[in-house]
Point group: C2
Chain length 162, copies 2
Amino acid sequence: MSTNPSIDAVRWLNPDQERAWRAFLRITVAVQAGTARDLAAIGLSEPDYEVLSTLSERPGHTSTLGEQADKMGWSRSRLSRHATRMAARGLLKRTPDPNDGRGCFLVLTAQGLAVLEDAAPAHVESVRRHFIDRLTPADLIAIEQIARRLEEPQASEDRPVT
Amino acid sequence: MSTNPSIDAVRWLNPDQERAWRAFLRITVAVQAGTARDLAAIGLSEPDYEVLSTLSERPGHTSTLGEQADKMGWSRSRLSRHATRMAARGLLKRTPDPNDGRGCFLVLTAQGLAVLEDAAPAHVESVRRHFIDRLTPADLIAIEQIARRLEEPQASEDRPVT
DNA sequence: ACGGATTCGTTGACATGTAATCAATCTAGC
DNA sequence: GCTAGATTGATTACATGTCAACGAATCCGT
């Protein structure tokens, strides 16, 4: 098929492996696209929702920027920029940290909380519709198991390739 | 835990479902991050690799922009922008389409082909290391099955929510 | 108390993705 | 065969994320 012999010579994955890998790639884009589209319909992006949701779970709906970034697995830079945009939309606000002159708190505003309360049930419904309800209980267990295997540290993880 | 009663009242997923959903989110970021990092080490992004790889499979290493975009599931805009950047790096070039004054061909350059030939084995190795080799054959089959279920059109897919 | 090292958050330069836009082509009706 | 509207092709404005560098505040050994 290919006009390029040297590429054809590459030892690729076997058919089962290849299908699984491509299936995996398709799954991720399909599900994420579905849930993201549903959230967009109510004026939130997936990152927006994550910020609102995780902030709402903290006492006083408050967290330092760094702590929040770590908890979400985001860079500080990313959260700082995103918080600025969300603050401009009135969803949260910054407050100086009395204990650390360098730091700042992110605080959910009343409006931010209201938006989240409106969005949360819709988002859960979306996750059900695009993911949970389409799978069997056995599938859900399989996914957990796969996650566990993928997260297992590998013996040769950080060894040089040579 | 939460100081906000109304959020707690949201009917969330049951524990099994919740764990599966979170596991799914973790899986996608972990695997994609792993393979993307390996590609970045040899100077390519994941999208770069996709373009090189799919272009190399066509006769003359050539395709119209639109056809290529469709085949990859990308928007024309996205591919156009990406092609411009890759052209600036010498990986491919544009040629006018004699049959359609609006259109253009994307053609892999010799350098682009060389880069791909260098990258392909490394990428396959990366997919193995971050994904295939960590899973059992049964896991791979489960993933295909899950993909099939997720891609099945749902009866009430496009019905209004009300 | 002092001074260097570290940490916090922000910002500038840049890469990348999506939505709006402009231009060329096709097509139906005359 | 010509023209107006719809369709299709590709590029440009805008939003968002990353990396590196920075100023300010804090920590800590002396």
